[in-house]
């Protein structure tokens, strides 16, 4: 892949990166106005956060984790449980540590759900045809594939992989 193509593919990271750069420049411009350390530090910290996000975008691009999301959790109980857990933490700060006695239940639910409850298991994926592929091969048409098409295609690839793993000829 030529460097130019690499640049083009990384456009999303450049959006974030240029933004963070402009911000860094502004943070340094403030130095001419003798602001004391606090504003500069604050400004650079904010810039750093965006830069970290930018790096995450770049890494994902490198690992070709782009394109429509295929594999979705089918429900979000963990999210609700997390919300409750955080609420309990807040109440504990306001009303005292005894409130923490309420914490384990939502926490355990959140953890269990997040870890294994809400994504289709490997077997289920087999049965229903939603394989855990990170990078679907792009479909060579000039419109985005419909979800169904993406899925069919992914399924195809998945089965091909399975067959290859079992050593069958394709």
């Amino acid at each position: 892949m030529s460097p130019a193509a690499g640049l083009k593919g990384a456009a999303p990271a450049h959006v974030v990166g240029l933004w963070a750069t402009l911000n860094g420049a502004l943070a340094l411009a403030i130095l001419f106005y003798d602001p004391g350390p606090l504003p500069v530090v604050l400004h650079l910290l904010g810039t750093t956060l965006v830069a970290i996000y930018g790096v995450a975008v770049l890494v994902t691009l490198r690992r070709r984790g782009t394109g429509p999301q295929l594999r979705l959790p089918y429900r979000s109980v963990a999210a609700g449980a997390t919300g409750v857990a955080v609420l309990v933490l807040c109440l504990a700060w306001v009303y005292g540590v005894w409130v923490l006695a309420l914490l384990p239940y939502p926490l355990v639910v959140a953890v269990i759900m997040a870890v294994r409850g809400e994504r289709l298991s490997a077997a289920a994926a087999d049965a229903s045809g939603a394989p855990a592929l990170r990078a679907p091969r792009s479909v060579p048409v000039d419109r985005a594939p419909t979800s169904d098409e993406v899925r069919d295609r992914a399924l195809e690839i998945h089965h091909a992989q399975q067959r290859r793993r079992r050593g069958e000829a394709t």
């Binding site: 606090l38 609700g80 807040c90």
Partner: protein, 570 residues
């Protein structure tokens, strides 16, 4: 609210990640959803309900201020009212709407079947809801709700001067509500940057999606600063002595405003995007100056991170000239955006639908907020008008006359998409005129009040102050605003109840991808019945229509004007 319509109009789906159809309409299905549209609708619905609630608090404030020397409520309760009104509008209404609108629309507009990390987005909703509950729980505590103003300066907000439990609940509530918004913003940004359908290159994203990107970049960079500020306040609730030191008081202000200036643009940008989409749709033409607008949105957002000190001009402890410089420079990107608005209308063929009316009114009204914003970015003016009603008028022009109008433009524009039902046009017009007149009658006199010397956040004033006439006028306007909100509620209730006006997929002849799918869209946005169309530019459906009509119309092919070529995509 849309559950039945949805299941009624749902074509068969075979997606495995979607719960079985029989379960889709139930409350449990909504509350454990991973569909970005439902997460967004939960967030938006909550925010709209809260808009009414905290709006009512403002009406009580107006009632108290109508005449001099009134004591309908005690001073402390008055302080609670404006604190919950102001902080509610900012943390719980306009910011969530600004972000969740992106959560609903961005995946659709970039042709993605889902949002990235849907459970994180849903966690965002739950945290926001929990924060709301905490903040309002203050009303049930002995000393009443938080009463320290929406920016909660220490030392006033330490436990020494405002000991109420409501105050602590408010700090915790703001913390987690804003944390939730960071989560949602992060997922939307990720989707726009990385989860686009193949043909949707960056420069083929609609203006709204770009505005959402700029918004969410600010959220990522600036919102954590509020978490730090609330953390500092929380620390000061436990150890109030730290706020006897100037260092911490000023540190708090820096942390706070580092968040709170960008947040005002978070509450503004998505509505710039909305107004751009609505204006261009009902002008029947692609948005003029797309590239310039995209660049200016991004620069605007970047600059907005370095203007926070303009809220601290009168502290005597900030580098005023720097913040004045950066703040005034913002007029360049803002002016470019306005250029796009006007040029789009100037070359259009206009249909005055209800969303269009709101979008049109946004333009001059927000302008008043923006122009007075440049005035208060001038230190020698700000020294005099800060903390007076001039400022109250200024931000209500940006927020109430600006963002709120953008919000209603969006509401009327995308309601048919989200529910499959059209709203009543006549009631919509009533709402619009009442709101426009009411807003201006309420907030215009406040400029004058500020120049006459009325400080903000005062529970009452004396007859000899000379503030009476303008306050009576302002309160009369508030009544009109209330009527307008009642009309809106009536409109939604009757439309949803009677179901007389099915919207169809594309009631407005829209330009962007969400109009290519069904109303409401299927769980993964595009399916066999509604495949993603070709996306040659940022207004794909317009291109499609132009192509269908054939070249014979004018001979001018949209491809010749940069629409197709703009941007790096193939």
């Amino acid at each position: 609210m849309t559950a039945e319509t949805e299941s009624a109009q749902q074509p068969e789906h075979r997606q495995e990640d979607v719960p079985p159809r029989s379960r889709r309409g139930t409350a449990a299905a909504w509350l454990t959803t991973t569909d970005h549209k439902r997460i967004a609708l939960l967030t938006l619905g909550t925010a709209l309900v809260l808009f009414i609630v905290v709006g009512v608090l403002a009406l009580v404030v107006r009632a108290q201020l109508t005449l001099p020397d009134q004591h309908l409520v005690s001073n402390d309760f008055y302080n609670g009212l404006f604190t919950i009104h102001g902080s509610g509008m900012i943390y719980l209404v306009v910011t969530p709407v600004a972000i969740a609108l992106g959560l609903y629309l961005v995946p659709l507009q970039v042709g993605a079947p889902a949002v990235a990390a849907p459970r994180l987005a849903m966690t965002g909703f739950w945290l926001y809801l929990a924060g709301t509950v905490l903040i309002f729980a203050g009303f049930a505590t002995a000393l009443g709700p938080a009463a320290g103003g929406w920016y909660a300066y220490p030392p006033l907000n330490s436990s020494r001067y405002l000991p109420g439990t409501g105050q602590s609940l408010w700090i915790a509530g703001v913390f987690i509500a804003v944390l939730g918004m960071i989560f949602q913003a992060g997922t939307v940004l990720w989707t726009a940057l990385l989860k686009r359908a193949k043909p949707v290159t960056l420069m083929r994203m609609p203006v709204f999606t770009w505005s959402s990107i700029a918004t969410n970049l600010m959220v990522i960079g600036a919102f954590p600063s509020l978490l730090a500020a609330m953390g500092l306040l929380a620390w000061g609730r436990v150890f109030p002595n730290i706020f006897t030191e100037n260092l911490w008081n000023i540190a708090y202000q820096h942390l706070f405003w580092f968040f709170a200036h960008p947040v005002v643009y978070v509450m503004f940008f998505p509505f710039v995007g909305v107004v751009a989409e609505v204006l261009s749709t009902f002008s029947g033409r692609r948005f003029f100056g797309y590239r310039a607008t995209v660049v200016s949105l991004l620069t605007f957002a970047a600059f907005s991170m370095s203007v926070w000190g303009h809220h601290m001009f009168s502290t005597g402890q900030a580098s005023n000239d720097y913040y004045s410089l950066t703040s005034i420079l913002l007029l360049v990107p803002a002016g470019v955006e306005y250029f796009g608005f006007l040029a789009t209308v100037i070359g259009g063929q206009l249909r005055f639908t209800v969303p269009m009316l709101f979008a049109i009114a946004f333009v001059p009204q927000f302008l008043i907020g923006g122009l007075t914003g440049i005035m208060v970015a001038t230190p020698v003016i700000d020294y005099q008008v800060t903390d007076s009603y001039f400022i109250v008028a200024h931000w209500h022009y940006t927020l109430a006359a600006g963002s709120l109008f953008g919000m209603f433009a969006a509401f009327h524009f995308w309601f048919p998409k989200a529910t499959g039902l059209l709203l009543d046009e006549r009631l919509g017009r009533w709402q619009f005129w009442l709101l426009t007149i009411g807003t201006n009658v309420t907030f215009l006199p406040m400029f004058w009040l500020g120049l006459e010397g009325m400080p903000r956040r005062i529970a009452t004033y004396l007859p000899q102050d000379g503030f009476t006439t303008a306050n009576v006028i302002a309160s009369a306007g508030a009544v009109l605003i209330a009527l307008s909100v009642i009309v809106t509620i009536a409109n939604v209730v009757t439309s949803v109840r009677d179901r007389r006006r099915p919207a169809g997929d594309d009631p407005w002849q829209g330009f962007t991808l969400e109009w290519a799918t069904s109303s409401p869209p299927p769980p993964t946005n595009f399916d066999r019945e509604h495949p993603l169309p070709r996306v040659p530019s940022f207004a794909p459906l317009l291109d499609e229509r132009a192509r269908e009509e054939g070249e014979e119309r004018t001979g001018d092919d949209p491809t010749e004007h940069g629409g197709l070529r703009s941007g790096g995509g193939r």
